[in-house]
C-alpha cells in the first residue's frame, strides 16, 4: 500500500521503456506525473464542492445535496454538466481579451502548485529545491488574474471586488512569506520533501514558534484564497459576487475550481510545512497526508459555517498591525530555539512570543470588543 502509486508509475515507465528511447522514458515519466496532477486537481475540486456543501449543510441543520446518486455523490458531475451546457454570456462592454483570459489564467497556477506538494513518501511530482518559493510565487500571480477579471468584465461590483482582492492579497502575501521563514531556517531547505523529512522527530507545529507560524500561515492562506472570514472580494451580501459577477457557465466554473484547488493546496502546504506532512504511523504515507489535509479543509469549511466576514479596514489592520509584526518576531524566536539548549529552547521563544502578543494586543486594543450593559425601563 505504501508505495502503491509509485509502483504504478514505475510499471508504466517500465512499459514505456520497452518501446521508447531513453529520452522518451524521461519524457513519459514527466507526462505521467503531469497527467496524474491534471486529473487529480479537478477531481479534488469536484468533491471538495460536495464536501463543502455537505459540511455546511450539516452545520446548519440541513441535509445538503442528496438527490444525485447515493448521498449526492454524483452531484459534482451534475453541476459540471450544468455548467458546461450553460449559455456563455459575455457583457458587450467587457474587454474581450481580459475577459476571456482571466478564467484560464486563474486555473493554471492553481493546478501548477500541485507539482510541489508531497502527497506521500517520494510522491512529489517535481521535487524542486525551491519548492516553497515556487508555491509562493505561483500563488501570488492570482492577484493579477483576479484584477484582470474584475477590470475586464466592466462591472462596478467586479471592480470593487478586484480592488479588495488586490489590497488583501498583497497584504497577506507578505505575512505569509515571512511566517514561513522560521520553518525554512529550521529545515535548512526550500524543498518540500526535505521539510517533511526534517519533521520526522517532531512536527514544527509542536514548538511554540512553529505553532504560531502555522496559525499565521493558515490565516494568511485563507485570506489568499478568499475564504471566509476573508471572503471580501466575493462578499455576496455586499458586492454580489465580486470579481466573477459577470462570469457564468464554464468560465465561472473555472474560477470556482481555482478557488477550491487553492484551498486544497493551502491546506496541503500547511500540513507539509508544519504538521509533519505525510509522516505518521501504521497507515500509508499518502493516506496520512490526505487525512491531515482534509482535516484542515474541514476547519476551513467550519470557519465558513460560523464566522461573519471582516471589513476591509479591519482586514488590513489585522494583517499589518498584528500578524506581520508577530511573524517578524517569530523569526528571532525560532533562531533562539535553534541556538539554546533544551529547557530554554522552548521557554525563551515562548516568552518572546507571549510578550509580543501582549504588546501587540495593547496597541490594537481599539479592535477589542466592548462589553455592553443594557438597562431596562418600565
Amino acid at each position: 500500500m505504501e508505495t502503491l502509486f509509485i509502483q504504478i508509475k514505475t510499471l508504466l515507465v517500465n512499459a514505456a521503456a520497452l518501446v521508447l528511447p531513453p529520452w522518451g522514458v524521461t519524457l513519459s515519466s514527466m507526462i505521467i506525473s503531469a497527467l496524474a496532477i491534471l486529473g487529480l486537481g479537478p477531481l479534488i475540486m469536484m468533491y471538495l464542492t460536495l464536501m463543502e456543501r455537505k459540511v455546511l449543510a450539516r452545520m446548519q441543520n440541513r441535509i445538503g445535496p442528496n438527490r444525485a446518486g447515493p448521498w449526492g455523490l454524483l452531484q459534482p458531475l451534475a453541476d459540471g454538466i450544468k455548467m458546461l451546457t450553460k449559455e456563455d454570456i459575455r457583457p458587450s462592454a467587457a474587454d474581450p481579451l481580459l475577459y476571456f483570459l482571466a478564467p484560464i489564467l486563474i486555473a493554471v497556477p492553481a493546478l501548477m502548485v500541485f507539482a510541489v506538494i508531497p502527497f506521500g513518501k517520494g510522491m512529489t511530482a517535481a521535487d524542486l529545491n525551491v519548492g516553497v518559493l515556487y508555491f509562493v510565487a505561483l500563488s501570488s500571480t492570482t492577484t493579477l488574474v483576479i484584477f484582470m477579471a474584475s477590470w475586464g468584465s466592466r462591472n462596478k461590483y467586479s471592480v470593487l471586488g478586484g480592488m479588495r482582492s488586490v489590497s488583501q492579497m498583497i497584504s497577506y502575501e507578505v505575512t505569509l512569506v515571512i511566517s514561513v521563514v522560521p520553518i525554512l531556517m529550521a529545515a535548512g531547505s526550500l524543498s518540500t520533501q526535505t521539510i517533511v523529512e526534517s519533521q520526522s522527530g517532531r512536527w514544527y507545529a509542536a514548538t511554540p514558534w512553529g505553532l504560531l507560524s502555522c496559525m499565521i500561515f493558515f490565516i494568511c492562506g485563507l485570506a489568499e484564497c478568499n475564504r471566509s472570514p476573508f471572503d471580501l472580494p466575493e462578499a455576496e451580501s455586499e458586492i454580489v459576487a465580486g470579481y466573477h459577477t459577470e462570469y457564468s457557465g464554464m468560465r465561472f466554473a473555472l474560477f470556482y475550481m481555482a478557488e477550491f484547488m487553492n484551498v486544497f493546496s493551502i491546506c496541503a502546504l500547511t500540513v507539509t510545512l508544519f504538521l509533519g506532512g505525510w509522516q505518521g504511523p501504521l497507515l500509508p504515507s499518502w493516506l496520512w497526508f490526505l487525512i491531515k489535509t482534509y482535516l484542515l479543509i474541514f476547519i476551513v469549511f467550519w470557519f465558513r459555517g460560523t464566522l461573519p466576514r471582516l471589513r476591509a479596514d479591519h482586514l488590513m489592520g489585522l494583517a499589518w498591525k498584528f500578524l506581520l509584526p508577530l511573524a517578524v518576531m517569530n523569526i528571532p524566536a525560532a533562531a533562539m530555539s535553534h541556538f539554546l539548549s533544551e529547557p530554554f529552547s522552548t521557554a525563551v521563544p515562548l516568552a518572546i512570543l507571549m510578550v509580543s502578543v501582549a504588546v501587540l494586543s495593547f496597541f490594537n486594543k481599539g479592535y477589542a470588543a466592548e462589553k455592553r450593559v443594557y438597562h431596562f425601563t418600565d
Binding site: 455546511l56 451580501s237 466576514r309 471582516l310 471589513r311 418600565d378
Partner: protein, 385 residues
C-alpha cells in the same frame, strides 16, 4: 476606528467617486429596495433610497372595500408578522365602532402578537448576521425556530404567514384543543435555543468589530425622524407603545423594555434579543392567566362575521396603534357611515425607520451600509404599501 492619516488624494491624483446601484435585485436589499450609492473608494458619500417597487396601492384598495375585507390585506403589509398587523387594524376599527373585546380573545391576541414578535426578531437577526457574512448558519437556525411557531400559526389560523385571524371584536375562531400546551412546550425549549443562538455570535469578536460603533443613531436624530420600535429603544429611549398605551391587556403583564446605550448596530441587534426574552415572559404570564373558556368575539360584532357588508361604523375617525415588532404600527380609519372606510391610512414603521438610512450610512464603508440596512429591519411590503 477612524483613520487619522486620511489625507485627500485629490490634490495630486485625480480620483472619481463611483456611483453604484444596489438593488432592486441584490442579495442584501431584503426585497425590492434600491439604493443609489455614491462611493469614494469604499466609503459611502451619498445614499439615495429608492422605493416603490412593491407599491400595491394598499390604502386606496382598502377605501374601496368593506372594513373586514381589508383584514387579509393587512397581512401582506409586513408579511413577517401578519398577526401584529391584524391586531393594529382590529384595534383601530374597534375604537371607531366602540366594540369591546372579550377577555379570552384579548389573551389570544396578546399571545399571538408576542409569538409574532419572536418570529420577527429571530428572523431579522438571522438576516442581519447573514448580511454580515455569516454564511446562512444563523439564518437557518433562526428559521428552524420560526418554523415551529409558524406551524402553530397554521394550526390556529390556517395559514403560516397570511394569518388573517383577527376580527373586529375578537378573533376568527377559538384556539384548537391542546394548542396552549403546544405553545407552552415551544416556550420551554425556546430560551435554550436563544442561548445557543447567542453563543454562536453575540460575543464573536468579528461581529463586535463589525457592529459596534457602526451606524450610530443618536437620540436626537431618532426622535426627530419619528422612529419607533427597537430602533428607537437601541438609541436609548425606552418608548414602547405596549407600556405607553397599555392597549388591549398589556397593562396586566409584568415585563420590561430593554434599552440600548449607543444606538449602533450592535445595540439594535442585542435589544432585539432581549425583547425576545421579555416576550417569553409575557407569554408565560398570559398562558397562565388565560381563561379556559369564554367568548372569542364580542356579541356586538359577531353578526358581522357572516355579513361583513352590514358592518357600518358610526361617522367618526379613529387611530389604533400597536407596538409591532418593527415599531409603531398605526391605522387611521375615518368612517362616513358607509360600509367602506372613507379614509384609511397606515403608519408603517418600516417606512419611517428607513428614512434615517442615509444619515446612518454616510462615512461608513459599503459593507457597513448593508449591515445598517439589515439592522433597520425593513420589510418591503410595508415600506411600499
Amino acid at each position: 476606528m477612524k483613520n487619522k492619516t486620511d489625507t485627500p488624494l485629490t490634490e495630486d491624483f485625480d480620483t472619481q467617486t463611483l456611483q453604484i446601484n444596489v438593488g432592486p435585485q441584490h442579495p442584501a436589499t431584503h426585497g425590492v429596495f434600491r439604493m443609489d450609492l455614491t462611493l469614494d473608494g469604499e466609503t459611502v458619500v451619498r445614499l439615495k433610497p429608492v422605493m416603490g417597487y412593491l407599491h400595491r396601492n394598499h390604502e386606496q384598495i382598502a377605501e374601496n372595500m368593506t372594513y373586514a375585507a381589508s383584514m387579509p390585506y393587512t397581512d401582506r403589509l409586513d408579511y413577517f408578522n401578519s398577526m401584529s398587523n391584524n391586531f393594529g387594524y382590529a384595534l383601530a376599527v374597534e375604537k371607531l365602532a366602540g366594540i369591546e373585546v372579550p377577555e379570552r380573545a384579548d389573551y389570544i391576541r396578546v399571545i399571538l402578537a408576542e409569538l409574532t414578535r419572536i418570529v420577527n426578531h429571530i428572523s431579522v437577526i438571522g438576516f442581519l448576521l447573514n448580511d454580515l457574512g455569516a454564511f446562512f448558519t444563523p439564518l437557518t437556525y433562526a428559521f428552524r425556530e420560526r418554523e415551529k411557531i409558524l406551524d402553530l400559526f397554521e394550526e390556529i389560523a390556517g395559514s403560516r404567514m397570511m394569518c388573517n385571524y383577527f376580527r373586529f371584536g375578537g378573533v376568527k375562531r377559538d384556539l384548537p384543543p391542546g394548542l396552549l400546551e403546544r405553545i407552552r412546550t415551544m416556550m420551554d425549549v425556546f430560551p435554550r435555543f436563544l442561548d445557543e443562538f447567542e453563543a454562536l455570535l453575540t460575543d464573536n469578536d468579528i461581529l463586535c468589530l463589525r457592529c459596534q460603533n457602526v451606524g450610530v443613531l443618536g437620540r436626537e436624530l431618532a426622535l426627530n425622524a419619528g422612529l419607533s420600535g427597537p430602533m428607537l429603544r437601541a438609541s436609548g429611549l425606552g418608548y414602547d407603545i405596549r407600556k405607553v398605551d397599555r392597549y388591549s391587556i398589556y397593562g396586566r403583564f409584568d415585563f420590561k423594555v430593554p434599552v440600548g446605550s449607543k444606538g449602533d448596530v450592535y445595540d439594535r441587534y442585542y435589544v432585539r434579543v432581549l425583547e425576545m426574552r421579555e416576550s417569553l415572559k409575557i407569554l408565560d404570564q398570559a398562558l397562565r392567566q388565560i381563561p379556559s373558556s369564554g367568548d372569542i368575539i364580542s356579541r356586538k360584532a359577531a353578526p358581522f362575521l357572516k355579513a361583513p357588508r352590514n358592518f357600518k361604523p358610526p361617522v367618526g375617525e379613529a387611530y389604533g396603534r400597536v407596538e409591532s415588532p418593527k415599531g409603531e404600527l398605526g391605522f387611521y380609519v375615518v368612517s362616513d357611515g358607509s360600509p367602506q372606510p372613507w379614509r384609511y391610512h397606515v403608519r408603517a414603521p418600516s417606512l419611517i425607520n428607513l428614512t434615517v438610512l442615509e444619515d446612518l450610512c454616510i462615512g461608513h464603508k459599503l459593507a457597513d451600509a448593508m449591515v445598517i440596512l439589515g439592522s433597520i429591519d425593513i420589510v418591503l411590503g410595508e415600506v411600499d404599501h
